[in-house]
Every structure is written in structure tokens, then in C-alpha cells.
């Protein structure tokens, strides 16, 4: 087993616009290595866009994202930052996992093949070993029986769990979760969050989780980032940020959810 070493994340003054719609208006926050950060915020506030930027799935217009010692998309040589080629960028991304809001499973591959694709093709690890690990992962999210089915044959919640397992199979040092439990029933939410929590502790992984589960944000995460309208409205320890007295915005957000 490769020993994963955790990475800190530093987002500073990131801007991103789609045509005339400025989605990220200068987002900055810091995620220490080996911690769990929850990103909360209303729908459309730019949470998914932020995660995609950290992975450089979309280019940002300005600002800087640092993961560990690296600036995402660049490489330092003699004080200057050179843009990375596709190959090198992929090497950066190998250490960053991502669970998409709409899963994006590979429909032409079985569940098991979805999981081993990354470890085998990208990391070049042996078939036997990766398949064993994948089956273990599947079992831990309650899907041992579905290994040989295709994503199209799964229910929504099952697909979501496969997506989580696919990201974990790469054993990344940083994982970006985009609402990883939205399609799960309360019982499973608990189980899956347990899996994630264990992972965070065991293998010293840094996690950024976009979520609507206030409970998760409060109980599990070391830090909460509250986004609204493309900016970070508040960030810090959960107790502080999720204090209804802090801002009317957060108050109304929380009020509803505790109903």
C-alpha cells in the first residue's frame, strides 16, 4: 500500500465568470492538511464551480490555488511559474480525488471496472490487488452484490455510493466531495459518512465536502466555509460559523434546516 501523505489547500482570490455571470468573485480560504472542511451555501452560490477549479477541471480567470507545495496548473522553476503540460497536470490530479454532484460514472463499464479503472490505468497497479481493494470498498458502502452490474442498472443512491468508492479507490491525498450523500437515505448517510470519516482519520487525507447536511458540518468537520453569491461569507470552526447570530444570511439558512 502506498502511504498517502496529506496536503493542505490554499485558495486565494479566485475569480471565475461564465460569459457575463461572475460565479466566483474572489474566493479565499485555507484548508490545513489532514482536516475536513465543509462547504455550505445556498444553491447556485458557486460551490461546485469552486471544487472544479481546485481540480482545474475548469480554468479560473484569476487567483491562485495551492495544493500542498504546488500551484495547481503550474510548476515552479527558478522563481517563475511555468504552465503545466497536460501530462504533468494529470500527475497533480492523480493525488486529488473528486466525487461529482451528478456522479459521472462510466456507463460502459461495470461497477467494479469503474473502481479499478483509475488504479490500473493511471497508477499502473496490478489487476488482482486493485480488484480486491475495490471489492472491499464496495462492501464498505454496501454494494458488494452490485460489482458486476452496469451503472444504468443501479438506483440513484447506489450510483452515488459507487461514485464515492471510485474516488476513494485512487487513495488520493485530497478529496473533493460534491454533495456526496444527497441521494442517500438517512440510514446510509450515516454509514457513508462513517466510511469517509474513517478514511480521513486513517490515511490522513484532506477532505473538502460540499454538503447540505448541517449535522455533518457541525459534527465531523474541522472547519466550515459558508459561501453565498460567489464569495466566502464566513469560514472557521463549525461552532463559530454556524452560529445563527453571526449574519442574517446564515440565520435564515439554518433556521429552515432545523425545522
Amino acid at each position: 500500500m502506498i502511504e498517502a501523505t496529506s496536503q493542505s489547500v490554499d485558495v486565494s482570490d479566485v475569480h471565475k465568470r461564465y460569459h457575463h455571470n461572475e460565479v466566483l468573485k474572489g474566493v479565499s480560504f485555507h484548508v490545513p492538511a489532514n482536516t475536513v472542511t465543509s462547504v455550505l451555501g445556498p444553491s447556485g452560490s458557486g460551490k461546485s464551480t469552486l471544487l472544479r477549479s481546485i481540480n482545474r477541471l475548469i480554468p479560473i480567470d484569476s487567483g491562485l490555488i495551492r495544493v500542498g507545495d504546488n500551484i495547481i496548473g503550474y510548476e515552479e522553476r527558478g522563481g517563475k511559474y511555468y504552465e503545466l503540460s497536460d501530462r504533468d497536470l494529470c500527475r497533480q490530479r492523480q493525488r486529488i480525488g473528486m466525487v461529482f454532484q451528478n456522479f459521472n460514472l462510466f456507463p460502459h463499464k461495470t461497477v467494479l471496472a469503474n473502481l479499478v479503472e483509475g488504479p490500473q490505468v493511471v497508477l499502473g497497479r496490478p489487476k488482482r490487488e486493485t480488484e480486491e481493494e475495490a471489492r472491499e470498498l464496495l462492501a464498505s458502502v454496501g454494494l458488494a452484490a452490485k460489482a458486476d452490474e452496469y451503472p444504468g442498472q443501479l438506483s440513484g443512491g447506489q450510483q452515488q455510493r459507487v461514485a464515492i468508492a471510485r474516488a476513494l479507490a485512487m487513495k488520493p491525498e485530497l478529496i473533493l466531495f460534491d454533495e456526496p450523500t444527497s441521494a442517500l437515505d438517512p440510514e446510509l448517510v450515516g454509514e457513508v459518512l462513517d466510511v469517509m470519516r474513517r478514511l480521513a482519520e486513517d490515511s490522513s487525507t484532506t477532505m473538502i465536502v460540499v454538503t447540505h447536511e448541517i449535522a455533518f458540518a457541525r459534527d465531523v468537520s474541522d472547519q466550515v466555509v459558508f459561501m453565498a453569491d460567489g464569495v466566502v461569507e464566513a469560514s472557521g470552526p463549525a461552532r463559530e460559523v454556524l452560529d445563527p447570530e453571526r449574519s442574517p444570511r446564515i440565520k435564515s439558512f439554518l433556521m429552515r434546516s432545523t425545522r
Binding site: 486565494s12 461564465y18 477541471l57 484569476s62 491562485l64 522563481g79 511559474y81 504552465e83 503545466l84
Partner: protein
């Protein structure tokens, strides 16, 4: 783009250097040199006889052939598209009969050469001297001389159109396959009939995938029309051939024809690009307004600013 957007905290200015693409530049240079060489050799080579080429460009026979090419291509594609949609839908139908008969159609018309089909239609009179219309077992309404009904033009239209239908059916079927099941379910769930769902939801999304190969077929048809020479019609290419078989100016006349084909193809390609943009609306919007299909992901990342 690389200008600082926030004046706050003007710390260390980091220098960012965009990715260089030495191979790309080498590629550009190579392509340009090759293109230049080609243009020079072609333009200056006496053996191309450019004066003859230009002289024939508006020759009445060539223009008549051009007209025939355009006319036949247009009609054949219209018939082919109509047939193609029907057959593609039949091939994905629930009814075994419809599926089998449409598969048979595709098999038969893709399987036999157009040339043979043209000869067959043209010589229908040889095989069936009279055509009879009426209800079976009753006195026929009309009986006509086959050769007078199946004019060469009709034979050409039948031959090319029926044949093209089989090819387009496959293309449209591929298009239908590319639309996710969820889309049909969504259409059905708001109460659309099968026809409405196909017409308004499935087909428009399939179009993105249907158009490029249909462009191929249309451009291919421009050239296939020369097969009608076997039934005494003369299209663009055959007109050129019939001139050079008299004058022996083979290469210049092939060039004349090629120029017209290039003109037609260019017009079609422009049309194709526009239809593609039209049907790609949703996907293009997703990729950013100025984007081209999925290319934004392949494109060099955005520029980072100083911090």
C-alpha cells in the same frame, strides 16, 4: 487578463509563464511550407493547362451537368432522409415485423450496388413490359408501358433515393441511440405521444450526431450521381468525361469538375457548420458561449493573475 483584479495585499508578484507548444509551432511551419509548395507547383505546372480548365468552367455542357448533379443530389437526399427516418424508427420499433422488414430493406439496399439498382429500374421495361395498377384479382385500373412511366430521370431518382434511404437510416439510428433513455422517459412523463417525443425531444438531440455523417452522405451523393451515366443521364463528372473523351484534355477537365465539386462541398460544409451550431445550442452554452463543443476542456487553461 493577466492584470491584477484586486489591489489589496500587493505581496510578492509571481511570474507565470504560459505553456509553450514547440511541436505545434513546428507543425504550423510544416503545414504552411507544404501548402505553399503545393500551391506553387500546381499553379505553375504547365501540364495542368489552367487556361483550358478555366475555359471549360462555364461550358454549357458542364453547367448542365452541374445542374443535374445538384438536382439529383437534392431529390435523392430528400427522399433518403424521409425514408431514413421512417426506417430508423422501424428498426428501433417494438414490432418484430417492422424491425425485420426494415432490417431487410437496409440489408438489401446497402448490399446491392447503386449501379445495379439504376440499371434495374431503367430496364424495368425489359423485365416487366407493362405496369398494372389496381386492386389484386380485379380488373386493373390502368395498364401502362413501363418505359414510358419510368423515365431515365425517374429511374435515377428511384435508384439513388431508395438507396440513400438505407444509408441514412443507419445514421439516424445511431443518432437515436445517442440520446439517453431518460429523455424519452421525461417526454413520455409529460404526456407526449411516441411521435411527439421523437419529433421534439429525441430527434433534435440526435441531430448533433446525425449531421456530420449526413454531410458525408450528401457530399458522397454529389459524386455518386455520376453513376447515372449508365442510364444516359449526364451529371457534372460525366459531362467532363464526355468532353474529354472527345478532346483528350483529360486532366484539365477533371480539374474543372473538381473545382465545381469543391465549390459545392464548400457551400455544403458551411451549411453543415451552421446546422450543427443550431442543434448544439444546449451543449455549446454549457461549454461557455464562445466554446466549440467539448473543446473547452481540451483548451489551455485560463491565465492566472498575479496575487
Amino acid at each position: 487578463m493577466s492584470t491584477p483584479t484586486h489591489e489589496t495585499a500587493p505581496e510578492v508578484v509571481t511570474h507565470f509563464v504560459s505553456l509553450k507548444h514547440p511541436w505545434r509551432i513546428a507543425g504550423i511551419v510544416l503545414v504552411l511550407i507544404l501548402a505553399l509548395l503545393l500551391v506553387i507547383t500546381v499553379a505553375t505546372n504547365e501540364r495542368f493547362q489552367w487556361d483550358v480548365v478555366v475555359g471549360y468552367l462555364f461550358n454549357p455542357r458542364i453547367l448542365a451537368g452541374l445542374g443535374m448533379t445538384i438536382f439529383l443530389t437534392f431529390i435523392a437526399m430528400v427522399i433518403g432522409l424521409a425514408l431514413g427516418v421512417v426506417i430508423a424508427v422501424m428498426r428501433t420499433s417494438a414490432s418484430r415485423t417492422l424491425r425485420w422488414s426494415s432490417s431487410f430493406y437496409v440489408w438489401f439496399f446497402r448490399g446491392t450496388p447503386v449501379l445495379v439498382q439504376l440499371v434495374f429500374w431503367y430496364n424495368l421495361g425489359y423485365l416487366f413490359p407493362e405496369l398494372t395498377f389496381g386492386i389484386p384479382f380485379l380488373e386493373p385500373f390502368v395498364t401502362v408501358d413501363t418505359n414510358s412511366v419510368i423515365t431515365p430521370l425517374l429511374a435515377a431518382i428511384l435508384g439513388l433515393g431508395l438507396n440513400e434511404g438505407a444509408y441514412l437510416a443507419e445514421i439516424i439510428r445511431a443518432g437515436i441511440l445517442s440520446v439517453s433513455t431518460g429523455q424519452r422517459e421525461a417526454a413520455t412523463s409529460i404526456g407526449m405521444t411516441r411521435y411527439q417525443a421523437f419529433r421534439r425531444i429525441i430527434l433534435p438531440q440526435a441531430m448533433r450526431v446525425i449531421i456530420p455523417p449526413t454531410g458525408n452522405e450528401t457530399i458522397g451523393m454529389l459524386k455518386s450521381t455520376s453513376l447515372v451515366s449508365v442510364i444516359a443521364l449526364s451529371d457534372l463528372m460525366y459531362s467532363a468525361q464526355s468532353i474529354y473523351s472527345r478532346t483528350f484534355e483529360v486532366i484539365p477537365l477533371l480539374l474543372t469538375a473538381s473545382i465545381w465539386y469543391l465549390v459545392l462541398t464548400s457551400l455544403l460544409s458551411i451549411g453543415q457548420a451552421q446546422i450543427e451550431t443550431h442543434f448544439g445550442r444546449g451543449a455549446l452554452a454549457e461549454a461557455g458561449v464562445s466554446g466549440r463543443g467539448m473543446s473547452h476542456l481540451l483548451r489551455r487553461g485560463g491565465k492566472a493573475a498575479t496575487r
